[in-house]
Symmetry: C2
Subunit: 205 residues, 2 copies
DNA sequence: TCATCAATAGATCAATCGTTCTAGAGCGGG
DNA sequence: CCCGCTCTAGAACGATTGATCTATTGATGA
């Protein structure tokens, strides 16, 4: 409620259009850049051009802000990854679909991804547990698919979990160094090279 | 000075043996776990069992503590990487020596590595510049060696810099998930699998 | 023996932190 | 018209922050 009634504010702004959403948008920017502990409520209020108490009108406390970011982004990631491989036939094709899906989805969550694997131990025990659960969930998806590769004889020898972690390393690192502005064929090329790296490494076996 | 004269304290402690060094040791622990902004001077003082002003006796300010950690660890990394490949013949052998050397050296800098690629934008402009310079330095070493692979026809097609970034992703990610306690043949196996991943990916080309 | 000085603790500073309180403005339904 | 609601600002709270000041200890060297 309180959102459905808004017929008044036909604000043509890019995305926010909502006081609460605009605050989340600013918060994720600052949290990703300076970290959770490094960002004060007043920092967010200043950027938003509103008062501190306004933020507390929408969010119970600072961590609720963090949680709102989580809910609109990373929370859905495991489900989206499962969607990406749903119905795909063949272990190699499934794995490729998984990695591609992951790179595509998180493209829009770049700041959030950075936030979440940077601030690990900095939250309340509850927040920490949530964070860890999702990360474990994602890892298990990769382990399952890589297990499929192994059964098909498509996997280099070694531990399955380590292979999954290495894969996630390449993906998450990509989110760190790649620039958000990139789009179109240029981006497709880069994503393709990351995928190729995961499949065959630098090349010299 | 102030250190050379110390013949008195033959403290048999594990590592510290020096008030200043003990503080650096504790600081790197806390910075890696909670981040720079998330760790207060009092946190460090409490763990060390000393007073706040004692810390300020050794360090001008909080960032000087960060800088001391940098100076005894990551600062030397580019030089150590260059050492690791010095005199090695053959582009493939050089690249392998580089990755292995990197994994070996940073094994002892696990916390520091985490600290430095987590706290990016959280420092003064000066600290930020130092951080970025080292990271660029390391990247250039990888680019040069991968360029060597390319000339020898040992590289998969694609951009050299992206290949270097992917490689660093696997390495830095390893530092995140691997446990410090591991040693001996078990660790060698894991390191080997990370190297193999960098060379040939998960296996299914 | 005494002056010096590194090393320590404790009190204290102004600033900032997360958070709460009070209150006004604008709007809709009765 | 006024009641109640959402949205907003500003002042203020106690706690914590990075940093400083003052003072005491104990050892070293003259």
């Amino acid at each position: 409620m309180a959102r459905v009634v808004s017929l008044k504010k036909a604000k043509s702004a890019a995305v926010p259009a909502d006081g609460r959403e605009e605050l989340v948008e600013i918060a994720v920017d600052l949290f990703a850049a300076r970290g959770f502990a490094g960002t004060s409520i007043r920092d967010i209020a200043d950027v938003a051009g509103r008062s501190v108490s306004n933020i507390y009108h929408y969010f119970e406390n600072k961590e609720a802000l963090w949680f709102a970011i989580f809910e609109r982004s990373i929370k859905a990631l495991p489900g989206q990854l499962r969607e990406a491989i749903e119905g795909v036939e063949g272990p190699r094709e499934r794995f490729i679909a998984l990695v591609r899906g992951h790179l595509d989805v998180t493209e829009h969550y770049r700041r959030e991804a950075k936030m979440f694997f940077i601030d690990e131990e900095r939250l309340s025990p509850a927040g920490n547990r949530i964070n860890k659960r999702v990360q474990r969930d994602i890892l298990s998806i990769y382990v399952a698919e890589i297990e499929g590769l192994r059964r098909a004889g498509l996997l280099a020898p070694g531990d399955t979990q380590i292979a999954a972690l290495n894969t996630l390393g390449a993906i998450n690192w990509y989110l760190r160094w790649s620039r958000a502005g990139m789009s179109g064929p240029k981006r497709a090329e880069v994503v393709d090279q990351v995928l190729q790296f995961i499949l065959r490494g630098v090349g010299c076996a």
